[in-house]
């Protein structure tokens, strides 16, 4: 589904060159639930933004759902983002001026869907996350957990093939975090591919597979002598 080979991302200023990602390789198969972990500044957010076609990269290859994306223009990238990818951000990023219904509607509008179909999908998504009664509320009127669930509903409404989540529980208290994570697991069970970036090892443990990034490169924790965590947390096998 998501395959990067020898990917690199360089930030160049007049004085210095910074490699956010260097010779980065990752292969996420369809239906996998992968957690990408790493310390701050390791490049995991950069990885996510490139994966979501929000940024371009400097070298290497990136195949998304079989399509090589480096030569796509802005319109093509936008279309793929709209149809194939669902984003879930740490800071919810709901548009404050719009109510819940209208927020979820945004990506559907860009797809050119008819009003009836839009309504159906929105209500279905809201049911899915358990917020159907809040369709007319504004983000400011919802709790943190509810806002995140709305964001998830928005991500789901378009039936994306790939869900990209960036610290989805970062701003939530434990209880809300738990319910969001359960929701993600449900969605995964239904066949979605999820790539989740987090620095929380507990969260990472709930995923099927962990990918660890340090200094812009993938590192195999078990093998790299630099890292000998006391215990590598493993989640229960999910099938």
């Amino acid at each position: 589904m998501l395959k990067m080979t020898h990917l690199s991302k360089v930030y160049r200023t007049e004085v210095v060159e910074t490699y956010a990602l260097r010779d980065f390789n990752i292969d996420v198969k369809e239906g996998e639930f992968v957690a990408v972990t790493g310390p701050s500044g390791s490049g995991k957010t950069t990885f996510l933004t490139i994966a979501g076609l929000l940024e371009t990269f400097s070298g290497g290859e990136y195949h998304l759902d079989g399509i090589e994306v480096s030569n796509l223009n802005d319109n093509a990238r936008s279309k793929i983002r709209n149809e194939k990818i669902g984003f879930i951000f740490q800071a919810f990023n709901l548009i404050p001026d719009l109510n819940v219904f209208d927020n979820i509607e945004v990506p559907l509008r860009y797809r050119g869907m008819k009003a009836a179909e839009r309504k159906q999908r929105i209500m279905e998504s809201l049911e899915r996350v358990g917020l159907a009664s809040r369709a007319k509320h504004y983000p400011a009127e919802l709790s943190g957990g509810q806002q995140q669930r709305v964001a998830i509903a928005r991500a789901l409404a378009g039936s994306p093939r790939l869900l990209l989540a960036d610290e989805p529980t970062g701003n939530l208290d434990t209880q809300m975090a738990r319910s969001v994570l359960e929701l993600l697991e449900d969605i995964h069970r239904e066949g979605a591919t999820i790539v989740m970036v987090t620095h929380d090892p507990e969260l990472a443990a709930r995923a099927q597979r962990n990918v660890h990034i340090i200094d812009g490169q993938v590192v195999d924790l078990a093998e790299d002598p630099r890292f000998h965590p006391a215990q590598v947390a493993t989640g229960e096998a999910r099938g």
Binding site: T45, T49, G52, L54, E55, D74, N75, S78, K79, I80, R81, N82, E83, I85, F87, F89, Q90, A91, N93, L94, I95, P96, D97, V106, P107, R109, Y110, R111, R154, D166, E167, G170
Partner: protein, 437 residues
């Protein structure tokens, strides 16, 4: 998507009322100022007789000579001698002479007081050439001109005043103690500016009330109420005859010539006539003639009052400043929503959609500004009387085309002002916006 963006635009207006009010007022005032001054300018500078302005020419012959000329230009009307001679030569399909008169009119049944009417002594062709519409009857006949008949044409307004609007053809009107038979009543006709008599300098004066044959007016010694330019270094003799046959100019002349070849032919005729005068010893200079069509004549006489031009320039400058102001405020308004823009881009909006959204949002602001501008314009129309002479102020009025233009200008200008802010908005990098710390 248009309706969607329009909705978003309206909503965002409500979001920040202070900013919205500021933008709407700036645009509203700018548009109003421009539209008011434009409507007056349009009224005084338009073509008063479109469709025919290219075929009507005013005739001028230099009877002063280069020594006494004003920058080589002939005086702005003809002498009685030249005017009648040119008309008698019949070199144009239609031709008319004219001069302004102010006869005292005595209404029938002597209860009312006499009053001074505003009129012109003309020829029968006048009405056809200038496309004067008639309510009753028509112009007098050519034979009336030659026969110096005591006939007259009155205006709709005068007809109302004297005969209560009835068909007064055949009835009589007393002017300067002579009676005249009415042969026609014109419908309301008041071209502004009064292009056919710019010589007298009253281009925006009160409407004309009565017309009578030129030759008749001269016969009864009706004096010109218009301008009489006798030039310098002229010692004319005494008395009316000397004046009539002297070199004072007071008779504007108009001819109708179908096309350019006809105009050239007529110009040749004028040159020939002036050459004859030179040969006869009356002129001591080479022929110096002018044949100007309506628009050229309006240009030459600079009919548009400078006040009108200055106000238009200032109003436009004012509008430009309002737009610069709007660019800044739109920039602030749009960039404040950088996060939203980032989200929309992340959710799959291509740059084109961002452009569309924000340009339409700007158009919404423009529309609101246009509506305010319309109200202010309507208000300002009353105030126009303060600035311009009442005669010109009368010309500024709010019609359908001005309303449409006001709204259009407001929307288009705001959208133009929005191009830079929208470009900035569309450049927002979704990744940068969404990265948290």
């Amino acid at each position: 998507m248009f309706a969607y963006y329009f909705q978003l635009g309206l909503r965002s207006l409500r979001r920040n009322p202070a900013l919205t009010a500021l933008m709407v007022m700036a645009i509203g005032f700018g548009v109003a100022a421009s539209m008011i001054t434009w409507s007056v300018f349009r009224a005084v500078s338009g073509d008063p007789i479109p469709g025919k302005s290219g075929q009507l020419y005013t005739v001028l012959i230099d009877n002063r000579g280069p020594q006494y000329n004003d920058k080589g230009e002939p005086p702005e009307a003809l002498t009685y001698t030249d005017a009648t001679a040119l008309v008698a030569a019949r070199k144009a399909a239609h031709q008319t002479l004219l001069f302004e008169v102010a006869p005292s009119v005595l209404p029938e049944g002597n209860q009312s007081l006499p009053f001074i009417a505003h009129g012109y002594a003309t020829n029968t062709d006048f009405f056809g050439m200038f496309e004067v519409p008639f309510e009753f009857g028509g112009a007098w006949r050519a034979s009336d001109d030659e026969g110096r008949a005591a006939v007259a044409v009155i205006s709709h307004a005068l007809n109302q005043q004297l005969f209560n609007g009835a068909d007064s053809v055949g009835r009589e009107i007393t002017m300067d103690r002579h009676t005249y038979r009415i042969v026609g009543v014109t419908a309301h006709w008041d071209p502004k500016p009064r292009f056919y008599d710019l010589f007298s300098g009253n281009a925006f004066g009160d409407p004309v009330q009565v017309y009578l044959p030129f030759a008749r007016a001269v016969d009864v010694e009706m004096d010109t109420a218009g301008r009489n330019n006798c030039g310098s270094n002229v010692d004319f003799g005494s008395g009316r005859d000397a004046w009539l046959h002297g070199e004072c100019v007071w008779v504007p002349m108009w001819v109708e010539l179908a096309d350019q070849p006809a105009a050239n032919a007529y110009r040749d005729f004028l040159t020939h006539y002036a050459a004859e005068q030179q040969r006869a010893g009356r002129f001591h200079w080479a022929p110096n003639v002018r044949l100007r069509d309506v628009n050229n004549w309006l240009d030459y006489k600079q009919v548009v009052p400078p006040e009108s031009r200055i106000s238009l320039m200032v109003a436009l400058g004012f509008f430009v400043i309002c737009l610069v102001n709007t660019i800044g405020l739109l920039l602030a308004k749009f960039m404040r929503r950088a996060a939203e823009i980032g989200v929309r881009r992340a959710l799959g909006a291509p740059r084109g959609e961002i452009y569309r959204q924000f340009l339409i949002e700007a158009a919404t602001v423009g529309l609101a500004g246009g509506v305010l501008g319309l109200l202010l314009t309507a208000l300002g129309m009353f105030g126009v009387g303060l600035l311009f002479e009442p005669q010109i102020a009368r010309l500024a009025h709010l019609d359908a085309s001005l309303v449409a233009m006001t709204l259009l200008v407001a929307v288009v200008a705001t959208v133009l002002a929005a191009f830079y802010p929208t470009w900035r908005a569309a450049k927002v990098q979704p990744a940068w916006q969404l990265k948290s710390n």
